[in-house]
Symmetry: C2
Subunit: 200 residues, 2 copies
DNA sequence: GTCTATAATTAGATAGAC
DNA sequence: GTCTATCTAATTATAGAC
């Protein structure tokens, strides 16, 4: 959107949000560790010191972005569609929601999916992410128990292949329209549930 | 396997292969950029200088690992099963082969899948990886043209979801047996082709 | 094949002026 | 809100001894 406050006012200078957006974009392009504050400053056409006026540390940039992604994902699990109904419907709802969060918060979710656990901030994010994964995992087990999912494939493998499909979207999806993400979510569910063989 | 030459001979010291294996494991655990030569040396219980006796640079470690992964993947495309027969069978053969390469060369393929293109070595690896991806992409188009794959989902999306499933295996698969990878490849093809709904 | 010591550079972060 | 200048620590890599 607007990178500079000056876009809406005559004043020069960035605000926190604008810097964070550009930082996350850089982190995703080069990797968090490979993105130096110097390189980030150059990208902002700003001095390093100016960034430290807005953020206490490089890691704070990471922390804010990861929290944004996690809060959005966790929000899906709290919605009604994730809490009531047949397990297969709740599972479908959560997968659809995850795809839409991925599309809506693509930069921060992409960053989240690449976290390795090198610091406390990263480990805390991984813990929250795993909690989300476990909830989906439980839904897969429930849906299988109610007979809505095939049981001739290991449930853990099923869960992980589902996450593989959904999470990989971060690697190639580029937002183009509003309806786009919903279509993509439909495609994921179609492939996951019905497979790629032609309709008989 | 054997980390130290001393395992089979009285001499102390590492050989190139042993160092490379441990280096790639560290790169995968912390990320390439986040793994310093100092940390690697500590992990090897060796001085940094000793590593430089075996390798010219940190990047050479990366280059050798990426080449190993790419050579193995490219090998699948050169096998007979990938060259002759119905497109759907060639596609299945390549996907199965990719899963098995992933399992057999898990560390180097994992590293490959995380490359961002920050150096010439990384960009060259990405170029080779994209060539592989394009071959698989062409197989998807062929299989769809012959009527073996559904055509109500965008072909690019199909290809990417397939890669998403296969590549995500690097994030969680841990080798346990020889038959394990073949079973996993079967599961991937089952889910991808027939979907998760129960058999009717 | 490995070591200690060190060079040269870059990293994240701060001080203080404007 | 941004700057220049700077600090300290860490980084990749090399020199030369054993």
């Amino acid at each position: 959107m607007s990178d500079l406050i000056s876009a809406k006012r005559g004043r020069p200078g960035y605000d926190q949000r604008a810097i964070l957006d550009i930082a996350v974009a850089a982190f995703n392009e080069y990797g968090y560790d490979a993105t130096s504050m110097g390189a980030l400053a150059a990208r902002l056409d700003l001095s390093k010191a100016a960034i430290y006026h807005h953020f206490a540390s490089k890691e704070e940039l990471l922390e804010l972005a990861l929290d944004e992604a996690l809060t959005a994902l966790e929000g899906v699990l709290a919605e009604e569609g994730a809490l009531a109904g047949a397990a297969i419907d709740r599972l479908a709802y959560v997968l659809r929601g995850a795809v839409q969060v991925l599309a809506a918060k693509l930069p921060s979710v992409t960053l989240l999916l690449r976290v390795r656990g090198n610091s406390q901030v990263e480990r805390d994010a991984l813990t929250r992410r795993r909690a989300f994964d476990h909830m989906v995992s439980a839904l897969v087990l429930e849906a299988r128990a109610e007979g809505s999912l095939r049981s001739d494939v290991d449930a853990r493998v099923v869960t992980r292949l589902l996450f593989g499909m959904v999470n990989s979207i971060a690697e190639w999806y580029r937002p183009e329209g509003l309806e786009d993400a919903a279509q993509l979510a439909d495609d994921v569910l179609t492939v996951a549930l019905d497979g790629l063989r032609p309709r008989s």
